[in-house]
């Protein structure tokens, strides 16, 4: 008993109190910024080097739904037009808002409908489905429940059964072998229900957009409520996105 108390004292106060203004290491690659500079003549190095076709030029645009946040484009750009900042607030409720252009300083989340907020604003239970996720996103989702991020304090929790859930959280590009299970799981969630996509693979297929083993029909047939980009997304990106969407302090 004494030893358990000692362990508790050793824990100290590891929780991140202010999740809205936490600071991440300066090397962390979050929101990319596109400088107001013109590109060198006919330069398309960023487009060629990007492993997931996330970049288009004239003008330069980066789709965070496709971006795997590797530093290749930043390295390749001769005019230093693209650089990553450590801004982690990059979640959005619309796919279009994930496209970063010159002048994009923030990515924001529109409030959910009043019905959703009144149903889920104080308690949101989610069922996670790993549909080809490499376990990177899964580790970060698990980290949400640890003593640092403690998502339980906002009434958000991951549950075991889809019957107990208010929505599903999908990680991974949805493999053919998981396509049916994903549908069955979603069907088992009672209405009203939401879908959240976690990570680049779920949002666009990411690096697996070239794979022949994926089956993404489910995502075309259903409305997606929230997109959390990243490879994998930082836990704070998830928390921030959900709190904004549910309009909590």
């Amino acid at each position: 008993m004494i030893d358990a108390i000692k362990l508790r004292i050793l824990q100290g106060d590891p929780i991140i109190h202010d999740v809205r203004n936490a600071s991440l290491p300066k090397l962390f690659r979050g929101l990319p910024v596109i400088e107001n500079k013109s590109c060198a003549n006919e330069c398309s190095r960023c487009v060629e080097i990007c492993p997931t076709n996330a970049i288009s030029i004239n003008p330069v645009k980066i789709d965070l739904g496709l971006c795997v946040f590797c530093p290749l484009c930043e390295e390749a750009c001769p005019g230093k037009v693209i650089h990553f900042t450590n801004e982690y607030k990059i979640a959005s409720d619309s796919r279009e808002s994930l496209i970063v252009t010159n002048g994009t300083n923030t990515i924001s989340v529109e409030k959910a409908s009043e019905k959703i907020r009144s149903y889920f604003g104080r308690s949101l239970k989610l069922r996670q489905i790993s549909a080809g996720g490499c376990n990177g996103c899964e580790l970060e989702l698990n980290a949400l429940s640890n003593v640092n991020f403690d998502i339980g304090r906002y009434g958000i929790e991951f549950v075991a059964s889809p019957r107990h859930a208010d929505g599903i959280v999908i990680t991974g590009p949805i493999t053919q072998n998981m396509a049916k299970a994903t549908e069955i799981c979603y069907d088992a969630v009672p209405y009203p229900k939401i879908i959240i996509l976690i990570g680049t693979c779920a949002i666009s297929g990411g690096i697996f957009q070239y794979s022949e083993e994926t089956q993404r029909k489910f995502l075309e047939e259903n409305k997606i409520d929230l997109f959390i980009p990243g490879c994998p997304p930082h836990p704070l990106t998830f928390i921030h996105g959900l709190l904004d969407w549910l309009d909590k302090k």
């Binding site: 000692k6 824990q11 994926t214």
Partner: protein, 492 residues
């Protein structure tokens, strides 16, 4: 045995591999297996020439890899199965049958590896079934009760006791090996980072070593040390995560959350080095992208000092708790004999008393100059698999502190040329879970024509099945967490 003998990361020419006829091939491979070698691969060297396969066996005593080729008649892709005598080859033969249509004659248990609903030997696959009074079957998955990856488990039980557990995987199959052939250089590193998100460093290390060996690229000592330090970061982080998991499964919440807190410190340290908590973006062909400097070294050292101090207090609490030890000891035993027969690797093998560690048996990179100690425990139960991880954390911390205090100077990147034609390479890395193997072959223009990946989970899932025999089904979560295997790494 007739074979080409190479070392870890030693390039060779495809033409040097002896290709034997069927019966000589079977004899030669059997001889190797009878010498106590372990199989790490069985597949065609060229994906499109399926009637010519190679077998790769490793000899831990002499750090060598034996490669033997076999040429089969194109219309008769069959051979006598090795698996009845050497169970370790069982799953490799299943994989060969599934991917290339071979028939291992007399195979004891031909089953699907990654594909669902496939026909093997003219009939759809059926799970084993226990019959009799008061026996029952428990089916779990693919979606499990938690934030984890998918897989299907069938337990054949009598009362509380499990008599057989069958594990059916493949739900995570994304076609990584096929994509390795078709994608561009700049995509391959990102792809190898996504083989398993919990072993980013391990798999990317193996992949970069493959490309660097094929292109005869020398890596500076400083870059090698940074790679190894990152690998030990990953080992510590995932061992902390696993220990937190087993503590949680026996109801010790304070221990579990304490390990979780320390893991955050470790992965945040990795982010101080390279911007990603999992080490994504750190590796490039020819070295590493990010370097240690006075500022990040200072912060990382101070983080690790906390880990070193606190982890010993937490370990002491966990491993002296009678409640935890009662659950850990004699639960889910895989003894040394069985572990050797089925070819367990990595920390699970070391917990069954097998002396195997790629960092020592097949040294690579910085481990050639700065060795680590081999740690084994004899009991093969949950206790051993948990305790071993605690001991490995101490050893990894020692390695990191030693290296970070004595970093050599030098560049961290070397130039990479083009790949040698008609060459092959085997790269072995000891990830935190165990032995990771990447194997590649090139054609006459240096283009990669075959890429095989073997995650340690490929060997060890069967160990979990056997650990559950005559074990209470309520102990499954604990056994599962003690093995801590990857679905994505197996399914690829």
């Amino acid at each position: 045995m007739i074979s080409l003998q190479v070392q870890n990361n030693q390039p060779f020419r495809i033409d040097e591999i002896p290709f034997l006829n069927k019966s000589d091939f079977v004899d030669s491979v059997s001889e190797g297996l009878s010498n106590g070698f372990r199989m790490i691969g069985l597949f065609p060297a060229d994906k499109n020439v399926t009637h010519k396969i190679i077998s790769l066996l490793i000899d831990p005593d002499f750090s060598s890899i034996h490669i033997t080729g076999g040429e089969f008649p194109k219309d008769k892709l069959e051979f006598e199965s090795f698996a009845n005598q050497y169970p370790q080859t069982n799953y490799f033969e299943c994989e060969l049958a599934e991917n290339y249509g071979y028939e291992p004659i007399g195979h004891p248990w031909l089953r699907p590896v990654r594909k669902q609903n496939i026909i093997l030997g003219n009939k759809p696959y059926q799970f084993y079934k226990l019959e009799g009074d008061e026996v029952h079957e428990v089916a779990v998955g693919p979606i499990h009760a938690g934030v984890i990856e998918p897989g299907h488990f069938r337990f054949q039980c009598h009362g509380e006791l499990v008599y057989h557990l069958e594990i059916n995987l493949g739900y995570q199959h994304r076609g990584v090996e096929a994509m390795m052939l078709d994608t561009k250089n700049n995509q391959r590193v990102v792809l190898s980072e996504s083989i398993t998100g919990d072993t980013v460093i391990g798999h990317t290390y193996a992949h970069c070593s493959v490309i660097e060996s094929l292109t005869d690229t020398q890596i500076s000592l400083r870059a090698q040390v940074i790679r190894s330090v990152a690998e030990e970061f990953e080992r510590i982080a995932m061992h902390l995560s696993g220990l937190g998991g087993v503590a949680n499964d026996v109801g010790l919440a304070i221990v579990s959350s304490s390990y979780g807190r320390l893991r955050t410190l470790v992965i945040n340290s990795l982010a101080l080095l390279c911007g990603s908590r999992f080490g994504r973006g750190l590796f490039i062909y020819g070295g590493v992208r990010f370097d240690f400097n006075d500022e990040n070294v200072k912060q990382i050292i101070s983080n690790l000092e906390i880990v070193r101090k606190d982890v010993s207090a937490i370990n002491k609490f966990l491993f002296s708790s009678t409640g935890a030890l009662t659950r850990f000891e004699n639960t889910g035993i895989v003894n040394k004999d069985i572990a050797q027969q089925i070819g367990l690797v990595g920390m699970a093998a070391r917990s069954s008393g097998i002396e195997t560690d790629a960092r020592i048996n097949y040294p690579y990179g910085a481990y050639r100059y700065f060795p680590v100690s081999l740690i084994t425990l004899p009991s093969g139960d949950v206790f051993a698999r948990a305790r071993l991880r605690a001991l490995e954390i101490d050893e990894s911390l020692r390695f990191i502190f030693e290296q970070m205090e004595n970093l050599s100077d030098g560049e961290i990147k070397s130039d990479v040329g083009s790949a040698n034609p008609r060459s092959g390479i085997v790269s072995i890395v000891e990830g935190w879970r165990g032995e990771i193997v990447h194997i590649a072959f090139t054609d006459s223009e240096g283009k990669i024509i075959q890429y095989k990946i073997k995650d340690p989970s490929f060997n060890n899932w069967y160990g979990l099945s056997l650990a559950l025999r005559k074990t209470a089904i309520s102990d499954f979560p604990l056994c599962n967490k003690s093995f801590d295997l990857s679905y994505a790494g197996h399914d690829l």
